[in-house]
């Protein structure tokens, strides 16, 4: 599997790219500018030196007195002519009283049968100062330009992508179960507008499919009731009809048992789809103590051993009264179904939790699937496999947290209740 790439925000990414490009541009343009200006200045100095040298030569050939101005101009008579050269050199400058860098042009000329060596120098410091000044001013200007561009670009990008971000938030908030369609911000950008159209189409389709699926479950469970009613009525009629033999009665009785199972299955599936369809809107304060006591009394005859109920204070929850009963019933009946015979079931109700525990032989094999539809550990107990799925649905609806653990040979089902 590929490593997940590190995620970075769009605006950050574009800003980062801009900054990097700006930096590279700045560095290279500054280096370029530096060499270009330096070259320009060098040529300028060289031209100046050559022009001074030409003037001196013409002055010597005109028999004018030899012009000396050390260290800028030095004229000496030499015996042999040497090669001309141009270089940078360090010379003590008495006027500045320090060693300075000079550009030096040494030429040899034969004027009026006399060999001269003419040395012309120019201070480099000056041109270097110019060079630095140019580069710094360039840097300052371009820095301001980049900062300005950076913020302009950022605000432009933000504005440009604004519909995208707004719509992204809308999509995050999108819920399948919500009745209202997703509402997206329109944009004058063609691609964004197209994206909106596609998203709206997709979410509408998904919502419609989801609704159909839920409706389907409800419809099926509803439509099955009538044929089941007919089958059941006919079985009842046969049982009371002409004399049957014991085997026939046994089989009819078994059909009744299975009809009952189908009825339960149907009813529970219908209940789940009704919870999913959010059709339980009759929310009122429900006193769990009262409901539990009532349900325990109702079911205690079905359980040969004791059902113990402990509670120190009244717990009142805001929820649909019918669902509160179903929640308590399902937890209780689950414990009754799976409890070891002749061991008590203990129900503890506290301010922030409701727990039901019963003895068992071993822990549930796949506790993570316990609250899923049709999860069954074994075929020993005939169950619809929907009781705990309904518990989970009700918990989801009201933000309760169901959990399961097994310790001391006991199954513990705990529902964490929100603070009221």
């Amino acid at each position: 599997m590929a490593e997940p790439t590190k995620k970075i925000k769009l605006l950050r990414k574009t800003s980062k790219t801009f900054l990097w490009i700006s930096l590279i541009l700045m560095v290279f343009s500054t280096i370029g500018l530096y060499f270009y200006v330096r070259n320009l200045l060098q040529n300028e100095v060289e031209e100046e030196l050559r022009s001074t040298e030409a003037r001196i030569e013409s002055s010597i050939s005109g028999n004018n007195p030899i012009y000396q101005l050390a260290p800028m101009v030095e004229v000496e008579t030499v015996s042999n002519l040497g090669a001309e050269h141009l270089k940078d050199t360090l010379i003590f400058d008495p006027s500045q009283n320090e060693i300075e860098e000079f550009r030096e042009l040494i030429t040899f000329s034969k004027i009026n049968d006399q060999n001269y060596r003419i040395t012309v120098r120019a201070l480099i410091v000056e041109s270097e100062d110019i060079l630095i000044a140019v580069v710094i001013s360039y840097l300052i200007v371009i820095l301001f330009v980049f900062i300005f561009l950076f913020y302009l670009n950022k605000s432009r990008t933000e504005k440009l992508w604004n519909p995208f971000f707004k719509n992204l938030e809308q999509m995050k908030l999108f819920s399948l179960t919500s009745e209202t369609p997703i509402s997206l911000m329109d944009s004058d950008i063609l691609e964004f507008s197209e994206l909106n159209t596609e998203i709206t189409m997709l979410t509408d389709k998904v919502r419609a499919d989801y609704k159909n699926l839920k409706q389907f479950t409800e419809d099926v469970s509803h439509e099955l009731q009538t044929p089941l009613a007919i089958i059941q009525a006919k079985v009842d009629t046969i049982i009371n009809g002409e004399a049957l033999n014991d085997l026939q009665f046994e089989q009819l009785s078994s059909i009744q048992y299975d009809i009952q199972r189908l009825k339960q299955l149907n009813k529970k599936l219908g209940l789940i789809s009704k919870i999913e369809n959010d059709q339980f809107t009759n929310i009122s304060p429900c006193n769990l103590n009262h409901i539990l006591k009532d349900r325990i009394e109702n079911l205690s005859e079905l359980y040969p051993s004791e059902i113990l109920f402990e509670s120190n204070e009244d717990v009142v929850l805001l929820m649909d009264a019918h669902l509160a009963e179903v929640l308590c019933d399902n937890l209780l009946s689950n414990a009754i179904k799976y409890s070891l015979p002749n061991t008590p079931i203990v129900i503890i109700l506290e301010k922030d939790s409701l727990s039901v525990r019963n003895k068992g032989i071993r822990a549930i094999l796949k506790p993570d699937q316990l609250f899923q539809r049709f999860y069954k550990e074994s075929d020993e107990v005939k169950s619809t496999g929907l009781g705990l799925a309904i518990v989970k649905k009700i918990c989801d609806l009201y933000g309760f947290q169901p959990s399961y653990r097994y310790s001391n040979n006991e199954h513990h089902f705990t529902i964490s209740l929100p603070k009221q």
Binding site: H222, E223, Q225, T226, L228, A229, I230, I231, Q232, A233, K234, D236, T237, I239, N240, L244, N245, D246, Q248, F249, E250, L252, S253, Q256, Y257, I259, Q260, R261, K263, Q264, K267, G270, K274, Q279, N282, N298, L299, E301, L302, P304, H322, D329, S333, I336, K337, V381, K382, T384
Partner: protein, 224 residues
């Protein structure tokens, strides 16, 4: 008793009618909305068994009309829709009971009798079977004028037996009547045998041997 059964599923309609006729009731049937309106308009009935979802209309409208015309007809709604809203709506409109499909005919029969026992339909809240007498208002039972001490479930069981006397009742029917949705909770029906045996013993001790075993695993309440 004169009973009108309104139900668009003819098979179910026939089963209900023939079950109720065995008790000596006169049953008329209507399988369409129009037919039901017509019959209600023309005749008087003691009881109406009414399906809500009819092809051309709602049973609730029929009920509404019935109440508007101030007819003293007891009504039991039978509906495939088990939503609480529908149930409340039906009861608000003046229905006397509400039964969700599918149901056992014995259950419907016992609900009908319970409704008819109520004073407003000229019934009596006392139910007699030979030496047994049940006062449904105080939920007490007497045998040979002596009060019987029955548990809640034993009392329900005795009442169910007497209202369905002479009928074969399987343990499934009994379990469903006594515990409704929870009857599937325990695999075997031992818990039913316990209640039936206790009740049978109490009756037998007083000389009433009416609970008979039928076909090995079923029950029938009848005279010898």
């Amino acid at each position: 008793m004169k009973i009108l059964i309104v139900e668009d599923e003819k098979a179910l309609l026939q089963s209900i009618a023939s079950y109720l006729e065995k008790d000596g009731n006169v049953c008329e049937t209507a399988s369409t909305y129009e037919d039901a309106l017509y019959k209600i308009d023309l005749y008087e009935y003691d009881l109406l068994v009414l399906d809500i979802n009819l092809i051309n209309g709602s049973g609730l409208d029929i009920l509404h009309l019935l109440k508007k015309n101030k007819k003293e007809t007891a009504t039991i709604i039978i509906s495939a829709n088990n939503s609480l809203d529908d149930k409340l709506k039906g009861l608000d409109l003046g229905a006397d009971d509400y039964l969700t499909k599918p149901f056992h005919l014995a259950e419907l029969n016992s609900r009908i009798k319970a409704v008819l026992r109520r004073g407003k339909f000229g019934g009596t809240e006392r139910l007699e079977f030979n030496e047994i007498l049940i006062d449904t208002r105080s939920r007490t039972s007497y045998i040979k004028d002596k009060a019987m001490s029955l548990t809640r479930k034993e009392y329900d069981l005795l009442l169910f037996f007497i209202t369905n006397k002479g009928r074969v009742l399987s343990k499934e029917i009994i379990a469903e009547h006594l515990w409704g949705d929870h009857s599937d909770m325990v695999d075997n029906y031992d818990f039913i045998y316990v209640h039936i045996n206790n009740l049978r013993k109490k009756l037998t001790d007083a000389g009433a041997k009416y609970i008979k075993t039928a076909y090995g695993s079923g029950y029938k309440f009848m005279e010898d």
